[in-house]
Each structure stands twice: as structure tokens, then as C-alpha cells.
Symmetry: C2
Amino acid sequence: MTEETMTKWRILILGGTGETGSWFARYFKRKGFDVAVWGPSGKVEVAERLGVRYAHDMMKEVEESDIVLISVLIEKTVEMIQTVAPRMHPGSLIMDVTSIKSGPVMAMKTYAPKGVEVLGTHPMFGPTMPSLFGQTIIFTPVEGKTGKWLPIIQSLFESDGAHIGILEAEEHDEMMAVVQALTHFAYIGIGATLKALDFDVQRSRKFMSPVYEIMIDFVGRILDQNPELYASIQKNPKASAVRQTYVAECMRLSEKADSGDLEGFKQIMRDAALHYGGTHEALERSDRVINTSIRERKEKKPDC
Amino acid sequence: MTEETMTKWRILILGGTGETGSWFARYFKRKGFDVAVWGPSGKVEVAERLGVRYAHDMMKEVEESDIVLISVLIEKTVEMIQTVAPRMHPGSLIMDVTSIKSGPVMAMKTYAPKGVEVLGTHPMFGPTMPSLFGQTIIFTPVEGKTGKWLPIIQSLFESDGAHIGILEAEEHDEMMAVVQALTHFAYIGIGATLKALDFDVQRSRKFMSPVYEIMIDFVGRILDQNPELYASIQKNPKASAVRQTYVAECMRLSEKADSGDLEGFKQIMRDAALHYGGTHEALERSDRVINTSIRERKEKKPDC
């Protein structure tokens, strides 16, 4: 290790009193960083609970930090970057942890002075996850503004078992419009449908298949979490077109089924299967997930 | 055991040369039944492969069987019942294994002569499942036409670890319009969307979250299987209204997101969470499923 990596780095987490920010405050503290947090509503007690410093003089802390990590609400992110980035010192790093990358990365690129590095970061997990093990984190680096810090942060996260993916900010948003926004949207749509139909979810569990059990638990999982996070993921600039395609495809399928054109319905399935590729491997993987779920169900209810 | 249960029962599986029918032929053969199969396309070689008799004289076999199990295509089921039920002898049982119950049960009730018992049966699993362990099977018995056989078939299936649910045929169809038809519909809609967007599924796996991984594998799982089965499940007479509600709810959510009404979006989520109930237990169960999936991913790719 070089002398520099031996130094205790100072990291300031803006929005560090929120759920995601607190998760990272705990993480970097465990890793031996000198952590300070600041939040727009001034919750000093959260810093005390986390055992880290509260940045009463936020701008002074910005100037003195090695890393400034932005974890405020997505709609405040660009404004926050605009306020703090110009005050950072050469050799330091600004990173964000929002689920949309094009806007924040453009802002960091624009407002970070020469010599300040930029790392768009998207941790693809919620603050309920106990560790980085097996989780995916995407970096959207900026050419010419990422040299020293990317490998440091990457090996830090990888040492805890995270899988790092690297994408351009635009491509990230396109991919996440499907990977996150569409996935959540379809599940939230099911949740809203169960309510609209006044469907008895609890009773249905007695008559469920394992595939349904897992799906309905995923609906519940999403509904149990902070709606703010899920709403912000839908703000992905590429998500609107994906949602509209989904609604259109659902209508097309629905029309085939309603008109009794089952051949048409099956043809949509066959075309989708061909495009998907590797459906059989997917079936085998899902068999394992289902079998685990079946075993757990058995262990919990030995009488059924 | 009484003398009667010691007797080797004769079961005829109509459609026994198809995938589901063959599954039951193997099952009942293992259980010591005298199994005969018949199929509309006369595939005698399937019977040979299964090691069971082929019913060349189908109507004679119907008359002599203790159980006639209908496993033909859903659109042929009522016609098949109409043809064979009147020829069955008192004390025998007619059962079907289609995923819709109101039509077939009504037909069995109408055409089975006095003394012939009726058992609507819905095995909620596909023919890729290796055993009944942990699977759900729903019975929709008919009052006054189910006495002797229901407990026999129920304890047979339960002895292999199946979970039996009992419902009225109408209620079954209402529940399955959500449990099966809506689940599949949402997933097939995602598959069709991936094709419409020309989305690279394989590449996206590098950047996925575990929730996405499981969901996308479930999409592949459904697309990998016989489209006939999935199309027939959408023919559930109650499914059309459910599909329409789903499309309407997706449109409502989409409008909220597109117009920037994130408060409206979050309110739909909160209402759905309240109606769902037990979201936190769902989150905990899904955490376990996700953790299994993460461990499997790690074991398969030790380098990432």
C-alpha cells in the first residue's frame, strides 16, 4: 500500500441522515474512513446514532473532504451538485448514488472544477440489504475525469463481494428503464389491480402455485418499501417509453385473448421466446429458486 | 386397508399421450394402478414408452375403468366428457385436470349417470415438476356426487407431499383468474415488451439486481413452455375482466408518472400496500428467496 492509501480519507455524505445515506455512512465508517454526514433537515441525532460527525459547517466540510457523496432526493441532486462541486479541491472525488445517471453525471461533469474526479454510481439494492455480498453496483465514469479514484472505490466494493458493472450514463438509463422501472412497474400494477378487484391476497395463499407465491411476495416486497424510491426510479427519462410499450403489448395480448385468437396469443409468446434466447436456462434457474421456496414453505408448515 | 383398496384399480387417461396426461400415467403407474391411455392422434408408441396399455377400444375401456381422467385440450374437454361420461359404470369416478373448472365440472355433473362420482381437479404445476412434493392441487367437488373417491385421491396425493385446496368451481375460476392468469399475463407482457424494444436480455444480466434476475428468469420460464397451456389459462371465463383491470391500473400509474404526479403514484402504492396486508412478511420471505439466488450466482461464478 502506498502512503496515500494509508491516510484516513475524509468522506462527506450529503443526505447521510436518510436511509440510503445512512447505509453508506455505516459502510464507510466500518471501512475506516473519517465520515461526516449532513442532511437538509439537520438531523444531528442520526449522526450521533451512526457514530459519525455531523457537518454543521457543510461548505467547509465540502472543501476539506476527499470524497463528497451525494445521497439527497433525486429531485434535489442536480441542485446539490451545483452548490457543492465548485468548492471541492483538486484530487478529490464527487460521486452520487441515485438510480438515474444521465442528469447527475452531466451536472457533476459541468460543475466539478479541473482536477476533481467524478464517479456516477448506482447501487442496485435497497438499504435493507445487510451487506454488499452478491449485490450489483454500476459505475458510469466520465472520460478524463476518472483516473485515481475509480479503481480505489471499485476494489473497495469488490472486496465485500459486490459485482461492478461499467456503463455510459445514457446507456445505464436505457437499461435501467427495463431492469428496474419496468420490473417495478409491472409489480406495482399487480398490487393496484389486487386492490381494484378487492382480491383477498391472504386467502389466495392457500391456493397458490410456487410461481405465484414468489411473484405475490415480490409485489408485497415493493409495496412494503419507501414509495419515494420507487417513484424516483420511474422518473428515469427513458422509462416513459418503456411503460408505454408495456401497456401497448398488454393491450395487444389482451385483445388476442378476448377475441379468442389463441393462435395470435401463442404467436406473440413464440416470437418473445425467440427474441429472449436461453429460455431453457432461465427455466432451470427458476426451478432452483422455486424448489428453495417449496422447501422453506414445507419447513414452516410441517402439517401441510 | 379394506379389501377394496387392495384391488388394483383401473384408470384410463384420455389424452394420456400428451405432456400432462403422460405425467399422470407415470404417476398412477408408480402408485400401482392398472393404467391405460388413449389420445386423439393415436400415439401408441407413447404408451409403449410409458409402459402402460393403449386403449385401442376406447369406449370399452371407459366402461370397464374405475377412474376416467380427462386430460385432453381444454377446448375438447366438455365434448370428451359428453362422449364418455354416460358410458361409465356406477361406483366409478370421472375427473379432469384442466386449469378451468366451471365448464368441465358442469359437464361432468350433467353427463355422469347416477352413481358415477365427479371430481374437478386442478393440478397447479406443469409437467416439468419431478414430483408432487410441495405442489398445490385444487379439488372442486360436486355436492352429492363425491363420497367415496375424494378421500382416496386426496390421501394419495397428500402422501406424496401435495397440498390440497378445496373450492367451488366458480370460486376457483375467480381466484385462478388472478393467481394464474394475471401472473402469467404480466410476465408474458414483459416478454413481448423486451421483443418490441429489441432489448438485449443476455447483456442486461450483467447489470441486474437479484429481484430483476428472478423476474426475468420467470419470464423466460413461461416462454420456454408450451404456449398452448398458457393460452388455455387465459381462457378462464373470469380472466378477461382481470386483464382489463390490470391494463387500466397500469395506464393510471403510467399517467401519474408521465405527468410528474409522483405524489399520485406514491398514493396508489400506499393504497395497494394497505389492501395487500402483511407486506413486511412478504419482504422477509422474498429476502430469503433472493439470498438463495445470490448464493447460487456466487457458486456458479466464483470470479465475480
